[in-house]
């Protein structure tokens, strides 16, 4: 098996009304495609926030290899609020992630990187269209492209397919899987959609109110999935 990217040790998060994650232990390997599934409220987003460093766990720790600062994480959040009048083009939206204290305009390398990402995410034809007029699937591809601009080692998709129709879901996941196989980017895909998780992941982490399960994706049974919805 490939080298470890991150390892969670005895993770637990206490909130005022409940505890989640139940002393979670698991390892994520480089190049792996992991789906995190579970009903609402079992701690999927909490786990992601801990990995991102936005939340300090009550107990346990996340260890990064070689270190957190050497790991580039691209995160695609669950919700975005871009309305029909959102003015930026797809290209300019994706380029927002070239942040930092540099010249206001993009460098030659940044232009090249942007073009490469737009190609990888099949957005080349659409790049000059306003984001406000893009379809749900196109928007998700643009969110993905934006997260990819900084060439992440780890890509986290937080319920990115929740609002998409079945064809758009398949298109997006095929694309992510292809990127995972060609660029070796490690993927964490948070979802309620078991068939989709089964079709594209290597491993699964099922979070439950009283525990968790980790294993190869073929071992995931629909019956294991207590509560929540699973979309076909």
């Amino acid at each position: 098996m490939s080298e470890i990217m991150l390892a969670c040790h005895q993770l637990r998060q206490d909130f005022s009304e409940k505890e989640v994650l139940n002393n979670l232990d698991f390892e994520l390997h480089r190049g792996e495609f992991l789906s995190i599934v579970g009903e609402n409220g079992v701690g999927k987003t909490t786990l992601i926030r801990i990995i991102l460093g936005q939340l300090q766990p009550t107990h346990g720790q996340v260890q990064f290899f070689p270190s957190r600062k050497d790991l580039r994480i691209g995160y695609v959040p669950q919700f975005r609020n871009l309305d029909d009048e959102y003015p930026l083009s797809v290209r300019n939206f994706v380029a927002l992630n070239f942040s930092g204290f540099h010249w206001p305009w993009l460098s030659h390398q940044e232009h090249q990187q942007l073009q490469r990402v737009l190609q990888e995410t099949d957005l080349e034809q659409l790049q000059n269209e306003p984001m406000g007029r893009a379809s749900g699937g196109e928007k998700q591809r643009a969110y993905l492209a934006q997260a990819l601009t900084k060439q992440p080692d780890l890509l986290i998709l937080d319920e990115s397919t929740a609002s998409l129709d079945p064809i758009a879901k398949e298109t997006l996941l095929k694309l992510v899987r292809k990127l995972n196989q060609t660029t070796q980017v490690t993927v964490i895909f948070v979802t309620h959609d078991l068939p989709l998780a089964r079709a594209y992941s290597d491993h699964y982490l099922l979070l439950q109110p009283q525990g968790y399960e980790y294993g190869e994706i073929q071992q995931l049974q629909v019956n294991d999935y207590v509560g929540g919805e699973h979309h076909v």
């Binding site: 995160y75 009048e85 927002l96 942040s99 204290f101 306003p130 934006q146």
Partner: protein
């Protein structure tokens, strides 16, 4: 005829000063306005201008220039408002409270300073023809500070303003960015109030940028177009004010509103 009129107009120092000051203000407001619109802050901008009114009245009361009084009040309050709350609903309420308090203070300071009502009118509605060359220099310096400051934080501000959730997801430090932007906004409000007055500040800070977003699809494109709309408004407005002796603010407001409604109409036409 127009050239002749313009020649005569520019022979007056106060008109030259007015054009210089308005040009700087249109540039700063067009640029800053793009982010005001993207961050959905027109209400806060309006409140800052009311705070500016109180600051100017305070300035007169304690014997400093109205502009310095404005700067003092708007900068302090922008930092306070920026840190008060990030929850949108509570922020609106907080802004309403702050706004009411400061208008009240403005009225108090005006009464205490024993100045005539025309002072209040100048602050509220602008007095571009009364601007001295010293005021112009001060405005140019402040405009320069705002533009340089905005360019320094441009990329991060752009990300946070046009995709706040994405910026948070990419771990962009946005807290200080927000405060830095509010200080830039406070400076812009204080400068712009000299021309269009506190009550009509949003004419230059929000309307040109709100119009520009219907025509272009990049932040830099919006900034350039918003600056263009702002310049058109102040240049033509000043000229019409000169010709007719009617308030310049009225003409600027009318021109910017026509551009905005034109932009809305254009957007609807394109959607069909």
């Amino acid at each position: 005829m127009i050239t002749w009129g313009a020649n005569i107009m520019f022979s007056f120092e106060f008109m030259r000063n007015a054009y210089l000051a308005s040009t700087m203000i249109a540039i700063v407001c067009g640029f800053v306005g793009v982010f005001v619109v993207a961050r959905n802050m027109p209400f806060l901008t309006h409140t800052l201008s009311e705070i500016g009114f109180a600051g100017a009245a305070f300035g007169m009361f304690v014997g400093i220039s109205p502009l310095n009084g404005m700067l003092l009040f708007t900068i302090i309050s922008s930092v306070l408002v920026g840190r008060m709350s990030t929850k949108a609903a509570r922020r609106e309420d907080s802004i309403s409270a702050v706004s009411g308090l400061f208008i009240g203070l403005g009225v108090l300071f005006l009464a205490l300073s024993n100045k005539s009502a025309s002072y209040a009118t100048n602050i509220l509605f602008g007095s571009v023809v009364g601007i001295s060359i010293t005021d112009v220099y001060q405005m140019i310096i402040m405009a320069g500070i705002v533009l340089i400051g905005m360019l320094l934080i441009y990329r991060n501000l752009k990300f946070d303003s046009f995709d706040a959730l994405g910026a948070q997801g990419q771990q962009l430090a946005t807290g200080w960015l927000s405060v830095a932007f509010l200080v830039m906004l406070a400076l812009s409000v204080s400068v712009a109030a000299q021309v269009v007055g506190s009550l009509l500040i949003f004419i230059l800070l929000t309307l040109p940028a709100a119009s520009a977003k219907y025509f272009v699809h990049s932040v830099s494109g919006m900034a350039f177009l918003a600056i263009g709309f702002g310049l058109l408004g102040v240049w033509v407005g000043l000229y019409l004010g000169y010709l007719t002796n009617l308030p310049v603010s009225f003409f600027i407001a009318t021109i910017e509103a026509i551009i905005y409604f034109g932009a809305l109409g254009y957007s609807r036409y394109r959607a069909h």
